[in-house]
Symmetry: C2
Amino acid sequence: MDPFGGRSVLVVGTGLVGTSLGLALTRAGIDVRLADAKPEILAEAVRLGAGRPEPAAAESAGPAALAVVAVPPEAVAAVVGEVLAGGRAEYATDVASVKVLPTTQVRERVADPGRYVGSHPMAGREISGPNAALADLFEGRPWVICPDDGTHQQAVTRALAVARLAGAVPTTMTAAEHDAAVALVSHTPHLVAALMAGRLAGAPGHEVRLAGPGVTDVTRIASGDPELWTEILTANAAAVRPVLDALRTDLDRLMTALEAPVAGQPVLRELLRDGVDGRSRLPGKHGAEHTEFATVIVAVDDAPGQLARLFADAGAAGVNVEDVRIEHAAGQPLGLVELDVRPGAEDELAASLRERGWTIRG
Amino acid sequence: MDPFGGRSVLVVGTGLVGTSLGLALTRAGIDVRLADAKPEILAEAVRLGAGRPEPAAAESAGPAALAVVAVPPEAVAAVVGEVLAGGRAEYATDVASVKVLPTTQVRERVADPGRYVGSHPMAGREISGPNAALADLFEGRPWVICPDDGTHQQAVTRALAVARLAGAVPTTMTAAEHDAAVALVSHTPHLVAALMAGRLAGAPGHEVRLAGPGVTDVTRIASGDPELWTEILTANAAAVRPVLDALRTDLDRLMTALEAPVAGQPVLRELLRDGVDGRSRLPGKHGAEHTEFATVIVAVDDAPGQLARLFADAGAAGVNVEDVRIEHAAGQPLGLVELDVRPGAEDELAASLRERGWTIRG
């Protein structure tokens, strides 16, 4: 059923997120009005089926139930003010990846700020623009909604409805809580990965050639677009700073411990244990508590179809593979495939795969 | 052919590494003599087929061609001295994960230190002991050998032969170069992951629940055993310190930049670009230069056999999957499977999978 009773949703800004949302809402049977400052971007979103161009006030059957403003953080307040003042929508939300900046500016600059609620669908891609849009971009992803004391309930209700229609998992917190959370789980990890990867930039080849899967995992996200991340970190600097302060305090304790390694062992041990504890708090599969799986390591060569054969054999063993990683062995046309299974199932799977001729590493 | 002309290799210390090496050398047709301070550990290694117990001097047909000393770093020098002085082997190497400590101690404490060469097979497992041993533990892994000016060529030649017989990829550098290399590509990444994970330890649940694949990658290795890592870092503190010093310098520049984010953008951008550069230097598949694959993202549900069906369908498309990751969507019984393929093959694969009824995300 349509929570908007046939009324329209207006999407302003038809880039990756706006167009993906238009596709998702259209698929859900919602009438989507689209607007973008760039006519060619708007036309592309319409062509892709994300909705229809927003009609002129005269032709429109009244304001949209909700406007979703999908423009850069610093532009949100101006566009929200325009949309609400112009009677183009009754309520408005945005999708910026920081929330204090736009919500503060809306409160300062918009006539009736209670008609706006900030939100952040935590989904994205490396590529941008309407052509990168996906109807199910938001499926299963958290969508944070940030009301404050002045927010009209209807704004929250309608933002929640849009998040659910897009297949996301909505959750509410204050804008400050949101910015602190993404500073911890997204922005600081990106910086830590970048700083570590930066150490490799000037390193001699004989050192880098010894790199294994560990440092590859730690630095993976450091490949992200420096321009985009400069914007994000600039907008959320206030929330990132305290996390980095705490990190530097621990780094200093660590460095002091390594000055006199033997005497420093208790501190070293404590910091490493904190790491194990923190790691164990990360959401596991399906957002459930983090679970340690048992791992069966299989050696496979590069021939096409090997993975297909491996998973077919695993399936034949009646064991569900919960997760999989491929670790490529240096200097050899051979990969180690790590199959994660529920603890207890590993021996059965290993035995069954051995029978079928696979080399099991563990 | 047997580079030792039928002569024996002595393995002292039959834990994970010693027993794995015994299994590999035995499989390669080498006569392996085994010794361990703990009789039950030795018996287990013999039972597993890693070799035969070292015979008493009287019965032995002369010294082994090479002794591989697989004991903790701080014990290496004593055991090497004993083995060489006792005529149990003509030459000796070790397998400790740090090299300056054992090589220095051998030079100080052993009568003829030139008969020893330090080495480090860069392979291991989370679990230890002879029962965790694998005949192909070293296959395709780097095996660093660290001769110095006083090292006899025969010691190097025989250590290289053992590394090759075990299926490893041998490479030589000085002990100091080795310790600096592992400080950069292994020990510092572990500390960085632990410090980042440590920030999650005390964080509120609503923050940790927003964690996505990025922070999960960054902190993966932080799950490592704190005791083991305390030992490793204590032994290599001197080489880790300068890497942490440089990292801290960058962290300070970053924090200063974030104090005045707009003015600081050039510094922020530079640090992020260094990260991209460093990341691009990591060895890619098969130790080749790092290659960016094209990725096809497929939504799969949890039913057993789904992965088998997916890889079978990918195989049917005639596209070889180079790498695979599973990203579990929060709060949904759904996973996103990221299939890496050679750039150019992604459209063909996506189209073919769509035809077969799969939901493609990108």
